[in-house]
C-alpha cells in the first residue's frame, strides 16, 4: 500500500497549511501569495493522483484510518479518513478544477488590493472541501462541512465594502446553517443509536451491516435530518435562496462554490451516507429516498424556469447549478448513486468552465454582467466563445463528445427504471428541454447577434484563457470513460469491473434525449435569434416573465413570513424582557419599597409617635420636678416643714 493511502490527511492539510501561511504574508507579497496557493493546490493534486492509483487495483477498494480525537467518560470519540473510489474521484475533480480556478484568479483578481487574502481564503476553501471528501466520520465531515461554510462566507463577502456582498454572505451562512441544524441533530441521533460516528471501522462502522442493524428503524429519521444539511449546502428548495445571491462574490469564487466545493458537498454527503437512505428499501424505495426525489424534482424544474427569465450572466448559471443539483438528487433518490456522482464530477468541470467563461466575459467587458448589453462577442473573444460553447453543450446534455451529456443520459435511464412512477422521468425530460432553452438563450444574447455595448471589449489574457481550455479539454476527455459502450467510471464508483460493449450505444433513450435537446436549442434559436432589449417571453407572457424574473417571489415570501415573524418575536421578547420579566422584578422591589414606606409611616406615626409622646411626658414631668429643685433653702425648708406637718397628722390619725 502506498504511503499516501495511510497519510491521506495530507491532501486537505497541505492547502490548509498554505492558507495559514498566506494569511501571515504581508499584503504586498502578491506573487508569493498566488504562488503558494497554486503550489499547494498542485501538491494536493499530485497527492490525489497518487491516492487514485491504488483504488484502481481492485474494484471496491477501501482503505480506512481511524484515530481517537478525545476521550470522555469511558468512551473514545474517534475520527478517521477513508479512501475509496468515491473519495478518490472527488479528490481529483476538486483539486484539478480548483487548480484551474486558482490560476484564473491570478488574472481576474489582478487589480484587487486584498489579493493575498483572497488566495488564503481560496486555499482554505479547497482544503476544507477536501476534508469533507476524505472524512470517514460523520463528525469530521461535519467539521469540514462547517469550515466550507465559513470559507464560503468569507469569499462571498470578499468585497466587504459592498453592502450587497456582506448581505449575501450573511444570507449564505444563515441559510445553510438552518439546514446544518438538521444535520447536527441527525448526527447526534446516529451517534446515539449506532454508538459510533465512523462510517467504516472493520465491521463496526455505522454504515456497515452491524451498525445499520443497530440503527434499524430510526434510519429514516436520521437520513432525513442529515438530508436537511444537504438541502442547505446544495441549494435545494426551499433553502436554495442563498445560492443565486452568492454571485456577489468574485467570479472565481462563484466557480469554486458552484463546481468544485460547497454545493457539491451536499450531494456528496447523501452519496456517502447512502446506506442510511436505502436501509430497509422495498424495490429500491424508502420514505427518505422519496423525499430526496421530490425535493430534487421541484428544485430542478423551479430553477430552470427561473433561469429563463434572468438577465445577469452569472445568475443564469447560478440557477442552472441549482437545477443540475436537483437532477443529481433525483438520481440519488432513484438509486443511481454512481450516476449522480458522475454527473457531479462532470458538472464540476463544465460548470467551472462556464463560470470562468462568464468571468472572462465580465472581465473583458469591464464588469458588465447584464446579458442585454452584451452580444456579438464571438469574434471579439474567440477562445472564451469556443470554450463557453463546449460548456454549454455539456450543460444542455448533448452526448457524444460531452461528458455532461452522457451523465445526464445515465440519470434519465435511472429515472426511467424507477419502479414506483414514471413522473420523475417525464419531469426530468421536461428539464432537459428547459436547460437547452435557457442556455441557448444566454449564448445568443452574449455571443451572437449585434454588438450592443461591447465596443471596447477584449479577449482575456492567457492566464485566464488557459484554464478555460484545460477545463474544456477535461470535460471532453472525461466523456471517454462515461459512454455506455465503456462505462468505466460507473463501474469504478460501483466497485465493479468495466466491460466494453458497443451495442449499448444504440438505444431509444439516447435518440429521445437528443431530440429533446435539439428541440430546446432550436426553439431558443427561433425565439431569441432576433431578440432585442425586451425578452420575447416577456412580450408574450409579461406576468409569467415577471413572476420568474422575480425568482417566484420566494425571497420576498421568506422576508415577509419567517424573517418578519422572527423579527417580531425578537422585539416582542425584548419588550417582555424589559417590561414584563424585569417588570416583575421591579414590582417585587416596588413592593419592598412600598413596605418600607409603610413601615416608616407606621414607625413614624404609631411607634415613634408613642415613644415620642412618652418621652415628652417624662420630660414634662421632669421639668415639673426640676422646677421644684430651685436651690433655694427657704423653699426646701418650707417643704420639710410641710412634710413634717403631714407626718404628724398621719401619726395622730393612725394612733
Amino acid at each position: 500500500m502506498s504511503w499516501i493511502v495511510t497519510n491521506i490527511w495530507l491532501i486537505p492539510a497541505v492547502p490548509l497549511a498554505f492558507s495559514l501561511l498566506i494569511l501571515f504574508l504581508s499584503s504586498s507579497r502578491r506573487a508569493a501569495a498566488a504562488g503558494a496557493a497554486i503550489i499547494g493546490q498542485i501538491i494536493a493534486l499530485g497527492f490525489s493522483i497518487l491516492a487514485f492509483l491504488p483504488t484502481l487495483q481492485a474494484p471496491g477498494f477501501r482503505a480506512v484510518q481511524s484515530f481517537t480525537w478525545f476521550t470522555f467518560g469511558d468512551q473514545a470519540l474517534r475520527l478517521g479518513w477513508v479512501l475509496d473510489p468515491l473519495a478518490a474521484a472527488m479528490l481529483i475533480m476538486i483539486t484539478l478544477v480548483g487548480l484551474c480556478i486558482f490560476v484564473f484568479s491570478v488574472g481576474y483578481m489582478a487589480g484587487d488590493k486584498n489579493f493575498t487574502r483572497f488566495f488564503a481564503y481560496l486555499s482554505f476553501f479547497s482544503g476544507a472541501m477536501l476534508g469533507v471528501v476524505i472524512a470517514n466520520s460523520l463528525l469530521l465531515l461535519f467539521v469540514s462541512w462547517e469550515l466550507v461554510g465559513l470559507a464560503s462566507y468569507l469569499l462571498i463577502g470578499f468585497w466587504i465594502d459592498r453592502p450587497s456582498a456582506a448581505a449575501a454572505a450573511k444570507k449564505a451562512f444563515i441559510t445553510t446553517r438552518i439546514g446544518d441544524l438538521g444535520f447536527f441533530l441527525g448526527m447526534l441521533w446516529l451517534y446515539h443509536t449506532s454508538g459510533t460516528l465512523l462510517f467504516y471501522d472493520n465491521g463496526n462502522g455505522a454504515l456497515e451491516p452491524s451498525g445499520l442493524l443497530k440503527i434499524g428503524s430510526s434510519a429514516t429519521l436520521v437520513a432525513l435530518l442529515i438530508f436537511c444539511g444537504a438541502v442547505g449546502k446544495s441549494g435545494q428548495f426551499p433553502l436554495h435562496v442563498w445560492l443565486p445571491d452568492a454571485m456577489e462574490g468574485p467570479t472565481p469564487v462563484s466557480a469554486l462554490i458552484h463546481a468544485a466545493t460547497m454545493v457539491a458537498a451536499g450531494v456528496f454527503l447523501v452519496a456517502r451516507v447512502y446506506p442510511l437512505f436505502s436501509l430497509g428499501a422495498v424495490n429500491g424505495v424508502t420514505p427518505s429516498l422519496m423525499v430526496v426525489i421530490s425535493i430534487g424534482v421541484v428544485t430542478a424544474l423551479m430553477a430552470s424556469l427561473i433561469a429563463l427569465a434572468q438577465f445577469d450572466i452569472k445568475r443564469i448559471l447560478a440557477y442552472s447549478t441549482v437545477s443540475q443539483l436537483g437532477l443529481m438528487m433525483v438520481s440519488l433518490g432513484v438509486g443511481g448513486v454512481a450516476a449522480g456522482i458522475m454527473h457531479l464530477l462532470a458538472h464540476g468541470f463544465f460548470k467551472a468552465l462556464l463560470f470562468l467563461g462568464a468571468g472572462s466575459v465580465i472581465h473583458g467587458l469591464h464588469h458588465e454582467q447584464d446579458i442585454r448589453k452584451m452580444g456579438g462577442l464571438r469574434w471579439i473573444m474567440p477562445v472564451t466563445f469556443l470554450t463557453y460553447t463546449i460548456g454549454m453543450m455539456n450543460l444542455s446534455g448533448v452526448p457524444f463528445f460531452f461528458s455532461g451529456g452522457w451523465t445526464k443520459e445515465e440519470i434519465l435511464h435511472r429515472t426511467a427504471e424507477w419502479p414506483l412512477s414514471r413522473l420523475p422521468h417525464y419531469l426530468m425530460l421536461a428539464g432537459v428541454i428547459l436547460t437547452a432553452l435557457y442556455m441557448t438563450r444566454q449564448m445568443i444574447y452574449v455571443f451572437f447577434g449585434r454588438k450592443r455595448e461591447t465596443s471596447d471589449a477584449h479577449e482575456s489574457p492567457r492566464v485566464m484563457t488557459m484554464p478555460l481550455i484545460i477545463l474544456a479539454v477535461c470535460s471532453i476527455i472525461l466523456a471517454i470513460v462515461l459512454t455506455p459502450a465503456w462505462p468505466w467510471l460507473h463501474a469504478y464508483l460501483n466497485g465493479e469491473p468495466a466491460r466494453l460493449d458497443f451495442g449499448a450505444l444504440i438505444q431509444p433513450m439516447l435518440f429521445l434525449s437528443l431530440l429533446l435537446v435539439a428541440a430546446g436549442i432550436g426553439l431558443a434559436w427561433l425565439m431569441y435569434r432576433n431578440a432585442g432589449e425586451t425578452d420575447p417571453l416577456a412580450r408574450a407572457q409579461p406576468g409569467l416573465f415577471r413572476f420568474l424574473g422575480q425568482k417566484m417571489w420566494i425571497d420576498e415570501f421568506y422576508e415577509h413570513t419567517f424573517i418578519a415573524f422572527s423579527r417580531v418575536v425578537a422585539h416582542l421578547s425584548d419588550f417582555l424582557d424589559r417590561y414584563f420579566w424585569d417588570g416583575l422584578v421591579n414590582l417585587f422591589s416596588g413592593m419592598g419599597q412600598a413596605f418600607a414606606v409603610l413601615s416608616k409611616g407606621f414607625d413614624d406615626h404609631a411607634i415613634n409617635a408613642r415613644v415620642d409622646n412618652t418621652t415628652a411626658g417624662a420630660r414634662r414631668f421632669g421639668r415639673l420636678i426640676a422646677a421644684r429643685h430651685s436651690g433655694q433653702i427657704q423653699a426646701y425648708l418650707g417643704a420639710i416643714a410641710i412634710g413634717m406637718l403631714l407626718l404628724l397628722v398621719l401619726y395622730a390619725w393612725l394612733a
Binding site: 467539521v143 444563515i174 441544524l181 441533530l185 424585569d582
Partner: protein
C-alpha cells in the same frame, strides 16, 4: 504540598492590600500578583492526580465546631478547571482597561473570593466566599460603571443577595435537621432521599434553586444581568461573565443536583422548559439590541443555558444511559471553561471598540474591516468561537452537551438547537454592520490593534484553537471527576 490552596486564596488578598497602598503602577503590581496565582494554580495542577475521583490537596482544620463550620479546602477535576479559568480570566481582564489602585484592589478581592468559592467544601466557608465576591463586584460597578451604574449595581447586588439569603435559610434548615454543612455528607444525604422531612424539603429546594438560578442566571431570573454587564466597566464585565457566572453553574453541580435528585426528577419537564427558554429567548432578545455590550450579555445567558440543559438532561429524566450522562456532563464542564474565555474575550473586544469610538451602538460603526483588519479578524475568531464553529473551542462543549441531551431529552434538545441558529443570526448581523459596508466617518481614524492589545488577545485566541483542535488536555483534568459525578447522580 500543604497549604497550596490557602496560598492561592491569600495571594490576591495580600495583593489587594499592597496595591491599595501603592501610589503608582497599581495595575502592574496587580498583574504581578496574578502571575503568582497562575504559578500557584499551575503547581496545584502538577500536584493534582487526575486519575483519582475524590478531593485532593485537602486542607482540613477545625474552625467553628459549634455551628458545623470547618476550614475545608480541596480540589477535584471540576474545581481545578475553574481555578485555572479564574487564573486566566483575571489577568486578561486587568489588561483590558486602565484602572486605578482601588479598582485593582477590588478586582483582586473578587479573585480571592472566586478561588475560595471553587475550592471550599463546607457550606459555611463556601457561602462566605460566595458572598464575598458580591461586595467588590457591586462596588466596581457602582464606582466605575457607565450610564445607570447606580441602579444596575443595586439591582445586581440586591437580586443576587436575595437569592443568597433564600439559599442560606434553606441550608440552615438542613443543618438544624441533619447537623452537617459538609458537601460530601450532604451529597450522601441526598442519595438517601431524606434531606428534610415532607414539605420542608420542597421549601429548602425552592430556596437553593432560587439562589442559584438567579446567579447563573436561568430564565426568567436573568434581568439583572444585561443591566449589570452593560453598566460595568469592561474589565468587570469580563470577570462577571468569565468567572463569576460559573459560580451559579458550579453551585448547581455541587449543591442542588446531589441534594435533591427526586425533586429534580419530579420537576424535570419544568426545569428543562426553563433551560430551553434560557437558550432560545435570550439570543432573540440579543438580536433586538442596538447596544453591543447588551447584545453580548444576552448571548452569555444563552451559553450558560446550554450548561443548564446538559445538567438537567443528565439528572431529570427517568431513563438516562450512563454514557449519555458522561457526554452531557463532560460537555457542561467543557462549556463552562470555554464560555469563560470566549465571553470574556467578546467583552474585551467590545471594550476596544468602545475605547476607540466612545460609544458602542451597533450602528455607530461600519466598514471597520477596511481600517482595522487585525481587530476585525481577531474579533471574528472570537465571535465564531462563540457561535460554536468547529475547530474552535465552543464547538466541543456544545457538541457533547447536545449529544448527551438529545439522546436523553430529545424533544427539548431539538427546540434548544434553535439557539445555535439565533446566535449565528446575531453574530452575522453584528459582523455585517461592524465590519462591512463603507467605512463610517467616525471610524476613519481608528487605530488597529496596538502591540499590547495583541499580547492580551493572542494567548487567549491560541487557547481557543488549541481546545478546538486537540481538547484532550482539558478532558484529562476533569474526566475522572465527571465519571464519579455521573455515578453519584445515576
Amino acid at each position: 504540598m500543604a497549604g497550596l490552596i490557602t496560598t492561592l486564596i491569600v495571594t490576591p488578598l495580600v495583593g489587594a492590600l499592597l496595591v491599595s497602598a501603592t501610589r503608582n503602577y497599581a495595575r502592574a503590581l496587580a498583574l504581578v500578583f496574578n502571575l503568582i496565582t497562575i504559578i500557584c494554580a499551575f503547581i496545584i495542577w502538577r500536584n493534582f492526580d487526575p486519575g483519582l475521583p475524590g478531593l485532593q490537596l485537602v486542607e482540613r482544620h477545625s474552625w467553628l465546631p459549634a455551628i458545623g463550620a470547618e476550614y475545608l479546602f480541596g480540589i477535584d477535576g471540576l474545581c481545578l478547571l475553574l481555578v485555572v479559568l479564574t487564573s486566566l480570566v483575571f489577568p486578561f481582564a486587568l489588561l483590558a482597561q486602565k484602572m486605578d489602585r482601588s479598582f485593582c484592589a477590588l478586582m483582586l478581592i473578587t479573585q480571592a473570593a472566586l478561588y475560595g468559592t471553587f475550592t471550599a467544601h463546607n457550606f459555611v466557608l463556601w457561602f462566605l466566599f460566595y458572598e464575598m465576591s458580591l461586595v467588590p463586584a457591586f462596588l466596581l460597578i457602582k464606582m466605575w460603571g457607565g450610564e445607570n451604574r447606580d441602579r444596575a449595581a443595586t439591582k445586581f447586588f440586591l437580586y443576587t443577595f436575595l437569592g443568597s439569603v433564600a439559599m442560606l435559610l434553606s441550608f440552615l434548615g438542613i443543618y438544624f435537621a441533619r447537623g452537617t454543612f459538609d458537601f460530601i455528607s450532604l451529597a450522601e444525604l441526598g442519595k438517601t432521599g431524606d434531606v428534610l422531612p415532607g414539605k420542608l424539603k420542597w421549601l429548602a429546594f425552592a430556596g437553593i434553586f432560587l439562589g442559584l438560578a438567579v446567579k447563573v442566571p436561568l430564565f426568567p431570573f436573568h434581568t439583572w444581568l444585561p443591566d449589570a454587564y452593560e453598566a460595568a466597566p469592561t474589565g468587570v464585565s469580563m470577570v462577571l461573565t468569565g468567572a463569576l457566572s460559573k459560580m451559579g453553574v458550579y453551585g448547581f453541580i455541587r449543591l442542588l443536583l446531589p441534594l435533591f435528585p427526586n425533586e429534580i426528577a419530579t420537576l424535570g419537564p419544568w426545569l428543562l422548559t426553563l433551560t430551553v427558554c434560557s437558550i432560545v429567548i435570550p439570543p432573540l432578545v440579543a438580536w433586538a439590541q442596538s447596544d453591543l455590550k447588551r447584545m453580548v450579555a444576552y448571548l452569555s445567558i444563552n451559553h450558560l443555558g446550554y450548561c443548564m440543559l446538559g445538567l438537567f438532561a443528565a439528572t431529570a429524566p427517568a431513563v438516562r444511559p450512563l454514557e449519555e450522562m458522561h457526554a452531557a456532563l463532560s460537555g457542561v464542564v467543557m462549556q463552562m471553561f470555554n464560555h469563560g474565555i470566549t465571553a470574556a474575550a467578546l467583552f474585551y473586544f467590545v471594550g476596544l471598540l468602545e475605547q476607540r469610538r466612545g460609544s458602542r451602538g451597533i450602528d455607530d460603526f461600519g466598514g471597520l474591516m477596511q481600517r482595522t483588519p487585525l481587530l476585525c479578524g481577531w474579533m471574528s475568531v472570537v465571535m465564531f468561537s462563540s457561535l460554536g464553529l468547529p475547530g474552535l473551542n465552543g464547538f466541543i462543549g456544545e457538541f457533547l452537551i447536545f449529544k448527551g441531551s438529545f439522546a436523553i431529552a430529545a424533544g427539548y434538545t431539538a427546540v434548544a438547537v434553535l439557539g445555535l441558529l439565533f446566535t449565528a443570526v446575531v453574530f452575522m448581523r453584528a459582523m455585517q454592520s461592524l465590519f462591512s459596508g463603507p467605512l463610517t466617518r467616525a471610524c476613519s481614524t481608528f487605530l488597529d490593534l496596538s502591540s499590547h492589545e495583541k499580547w492580551a488577545i493572542i494567548p487567549v485566541t491560541l487557547l481557543m484553537f488549541a481546545i478546538g483542535i486537540a481538547p484532550q488536555f482539558l478532558f484529562n483534568i476533569f474526566n475522572t471527576t465527571v465519571v464519579h459525578m455521573a455515578r453519584l447522580l445515576a
